[in-house]
């Protein structure tokens, strides 16, 4: 979403600036050249005629209004979702800020979980509050594998100086169809 914001922000700025320049040009042109029937750059007299002949309950007014509302909602979602996602760590000094991304935390947890011989593969999602591990185990994996994985993840979280310790959720599936 942050990349979308980086692209959208200058485009919207250009759109606002162009709209302002067009308003100034057209108003000044209409003022200085009162006899012209059409606008200098924008056919605003035609637009005015169309708007004067169209009422609020006629098509396509409701459709356009719904479209404008949806675009507004999308802009709000992009603006709210484009915040930095980061995991804060304890720093050795007060004037130092240490951060990492949830992706890095997930990768560290995934590497630690996959180090276990009983784990065939693992997928990890991580955030500041929660680390969720879904592990695929060999068919002959020990029954307490889930507890072993939880313990491994807890040890890793102990090693990392996280400012807020996330909750750990582990689910284990055994590979099927292998005897």
């Amino acid at each position: 979403m942050r990349a979308v914001l980086r692209v959208l922000a200058p485009l919207l700025g250009i759109a606002v600036a162009v709209a302002g320049v067009l308003v100034v040009i057209e108003v000044v042109a209409a003022w200085v050249l009162p006899g012209t029937a059409s606008g200098l750059l924008v056919p605003w007299p035609d637009w005015g005629d169309t708007l004067a002949s169209l009422s609020w309950n006629q098509n396509p007014v409701p459709g356009i209004a719904i479209g404008v509302g949806v675009i507004g909602l999308l802009l709000i979602i992009v603006g709210l979702a484009a915040r930095r996602s980061e995991v804060r760590l304890q720093a050795p000094r007060a004037d130092m800020t240490v951060t990492t991304s949830p992706r890095v935390l997930a990768r560290l947890v995934g590497t630690r979980v996959r180090d276990s011989d009983d784990v065939l593969s693992a997928s990890v999602t991580a955030s500041t509050r929660r680390v969720a591990v879904t592990a695929l185990a060999w068919h002959d994996a020990p029954p307490d594998l889930r507890e072993v994985i939880v313990s491994r993840v807890q040890v890793l979280l102990d090693e990392l100086p996280l400012r807020r310790r996330p909750r750990v959720a582990v689910s284990v599936r055994k590979q099927e169809g292998v005897q």
Binding site: R6, A30, N57, A65, G69, I77, T100
Partner: protein, 225 residues
């Protein structure tokens, strides 16, 4: 000799202590804002425009479906009342339109300039004496931190850059850690060895630092031996 044993009044805190706390809070804020380039202004402008469009869309939709009365829904979009109002005092409305257009153009251009402007990289100015000024370029100062940081145990590579302003610079360091890195030890050595040296060399005892930790990607094993 007399010794003043009166306790300080808790209602009137020591001005030196409160000044020091304010300075610490400022340094913390600067280190927080050095983490990455801020996009807060762009985000809130986007949300504001979105709210305006959403409100307009909902309002016009309700009006179209007759929620505010069927008579109102049947009126033209360019209402004759508005046309008459504008025609009654055209000079005033033209002036308002021109002023509004100028405001929109200036705001839009300012937004574009702010969005595409590269992040400043301040140089560090050292006092070399009464008639000497030493300028350390931003790149040189950053390299002086990145090179030793990249050679720390547990760090695969490092990148550094100075951010902020010349009057209030801050350092942004990105460390790519190896799989066997001890994060606490890396941070301790970065602060005690690399950053302490940088603060001393750049004559910046108060240099806020933002450290971003990444993980070095493992090199793929060759598929053909």
């Amino acid at each position: 000799m007399s010794v003043d044993l009166t306790k300080p009044d808790p209602a009137t805190p020591d001005p030196n202590v409160s000044r020091s706390r304010r300075a610490d809070a400022r340094l913390r804020r600067r280190s927080r804002s050095a983490v990455a380039r801020s996009a807060a202004g762009d985000r809130w402008l986007l949300v504001l425009i979105g709210l305006v469009l959403l409100a307009a869309g909902i309002g016009v939709t309700l009006l179209s479906y007759g929620v505010f009365g069927t008579a109102r829904a049947g009126r033209p979009l360019l209402d004759p009342i508005i046309v008459d109002t504008v025609a009654a005092d055209p000079v005033l409305w033209r002036a308002i339109a021109i002023a509004g257009g100028i405001v929109l153009a200036v705001l839009g251009l300012a937004w574009v300039a702010r969005a595409v402007r590269p992040e400043p990289r301040p140089d560090v100015v050292l006092d070399g004496g009464p008639d000497t000024t030493i300028l350390v370029s931003s790149g040189a100062a950053a390299e002086a931190v990145a090179a030793p940081a990249g050679s720390l145990a547990g760090v695969g590579r490092a990148r550094a850059r100075l951010v902020g302003s010349t009057a209030a610079p801050a350092l942004r360091v990105t460390l790519w850690l190896t799989d066997d890195a001890d994060v606490r030890a890396v941070l301790r050595r970065l602060d005690g060895e690399v950053l302490a040296t940088a603060r001393s060399a750049l004559d910046l005892p108060a240099l806020p630092v933002a450290v971003r930790l990444e993980v070095e990607r493992p090199h793929p094993a060759p598929r053909v031996a």
